[in-house]
Symmetry: C2
DNA sequence: CATCATATGTAGTAAATTTACAACTTATCA
DNA sequence: TGATAAGTTGTAAATTTACTACATATGATG
């Protein structure tokens, strides 16, 4: 897709003179897009038609078209790269890095979600009699967030942080219930146990976790997100944010599936909150 | 910067015919970049020089240069636009929309953070004897997440979901303590009250909330994020994700400030978790 | 209604890109 | 090794494209 990468990769397919052109372009792409074919030819020490042929070999219609592609590649500048925070970074640097690497991860996550699985997950949630959200450690706050979202839907929804409560809750669940287990690694022992208990009671177990993990193996349905792992010791945890967005997506699918009448109800819940708020106008 | 936006904004400066050109381009920019000046002129129903003048008015050198700029604008894809989920959207559509609008909001948020404030906030947190995180409703899970992060730092850190517990906790705090209050709107009554209580006890009150809100007025320091408001009835709550990233940033700043020895300690906490996990290799 | 200013189009010109073809390399096989 | 074919590269002409200068039209102002 990106033409600059394409140039580097196709290098072997170029002829000798074409390679000269490639070098000049890679060395200074910004200059290249503002040059005419004649200028570029002179810079590369080749003839104009050679430059043209070079462009064609990259599946562009010709030189102007090539410049367009090149411009697009350059526009993406540094397209949200996953740069790690370093020891001596100042506030401006680590702020920028955290935002950007989060966005980079989200971009990756976005491309990795499987729509069909999402759809099926929404199906299951819609039909559930009771929905439970469990997670431990960092994932607990994700489960917590899920509770907040689904609670508004006027569906029986359960969330516990305590392992024992989670267990007990699962022991009491049945065929009609959906248990959503959240764990980035999918290797938290007690969560895997909970999955087993839930399945033992014929509940549907939905995992928001890594593909192929121990937890994933115990689930009826797995929503996995490919997020570059946070090998870093510093904090940013893009995986967790991707999970939250996934919850957003499920919740949205849920409302849409439930239709109009249901959404009116949702609005009522929102309105109820008003009483506990300062009015927008006459704030103290 | 972005030429497409520029076209929409400069609309009033265009002449009648130039506006025709603008319309055609905005209607189908992808086609525009692949057309010659003659084709575009014909499509717009104007003469070629008019198109050229149109380009010049946008501070480009001429038509080819304009196309380059246009191509760059388009390169950023449909650069993460905040598109709302609609009634009849299928799973693929709402998934895409949610991801994209979240990213769009993050981009906005990123540009709105004030580095100096962040730096001061990190200062305050570093010096705190005890840090409390409080939020209600959706913001509770953000506070919860903050707890998870800061807990690892081996600093006294407090989090309650219960209003009464929050109150009691604040009554017992002192000069050396920092209370972080999280609320997107900043209009939740009980949270404002808590801010007042905390300040009454000389604690430092840090607000992660909207500028100029009732809550913001009670804070010693306000970390505000300009996030396009979620007027939508559907779920996506970009504001909350921006808050989480902000917490990430604070936590990162915190570790960096604390230096090396401190980070070793952090690693130890991470290692401790191993025991509760299935090993990566011999997973069952 | 005359005059000026601005806006738009026509036609010609200059520039840039592409095509066609010829010259030159390089590889292949007898 | 030398002939031939396949592939490269360059030259020059053809074509397309963009730009300039000027003429005409439109519209506002006194």
């Amino acid at each position: 897709m990106n033409i600059l990468e394409k140039i580097t990769q196709h290098n072997s397919l170029f002829s000798k003179s074409e390679r000269k052109v490639a070098e000049i372009i890679l060395a200074n792409p910004q200059t290249a897009i503002h040059s005419s074919i004649a200028t570029l030819a002179k810079m590369s020490g080749v003839s104009e038609p050679t430059v043209n042929r070079f462009c064609r070999r990259l599946d562009t219609k010709g030189y102007p078209d090539f410049k367009l592609h090149l411009a697009q590649s350059l526009a993406n500048g540094t397209p949200y790269v996953n740069r790690h925070v370093e020891e001596n970074d100042g506030p401006d640097e680590y702020t920028k890095k955290i935002f950007e690497s989060t966005m980079a991860s989200l971009e990756v996550a976005r491309q990795s979600v499987d729509i069909n699985t999402i759809n099926r997950a929404v199906d299951l949630l819609t039909q559930a009699q009771k929905i439970s959200f469990f997670g431990l450690g960092a994932s607990a706050s994700v489960a917590h967030d899920a509770l907040n979202k689904f609670f508004r839907f006027n569906v029986p929804v359960v969330y516990f942080e305590d392992i024992l409560m989670q267990r007990m809750s699962c022991m009491n669940c049945g065929e009609e219930d959906v248990v959503v287990l959240i764990s980035h690694t999918g290797r938290t022992k007690s969560l895997v146990e909970i999955a087993q208990i839930a399945r033992g009671n014929d509940a549907t177990v939905m995992g928001i976790t890594s593909k192929g993990s121990p937890l994933a193996k115990e689930c009826n349905i797995v929503l996995s997100l490919e997020v570059p792992e946070d090998t870093d010791m510093y904090m940013p945890m893009a995986s967790r944010i991707a999970q939250l967005i996934l919850i957003d997506i499920l919740a949205t699918g849920f409302t849409l599936r439930r239709g109009n009448k249901f959404r009116e109800n949702l609005k009522r819940v929102k309105d109820t909150l008003r009483g506990s708020r300062f009015d927008k106008r006459d704030a103290p």
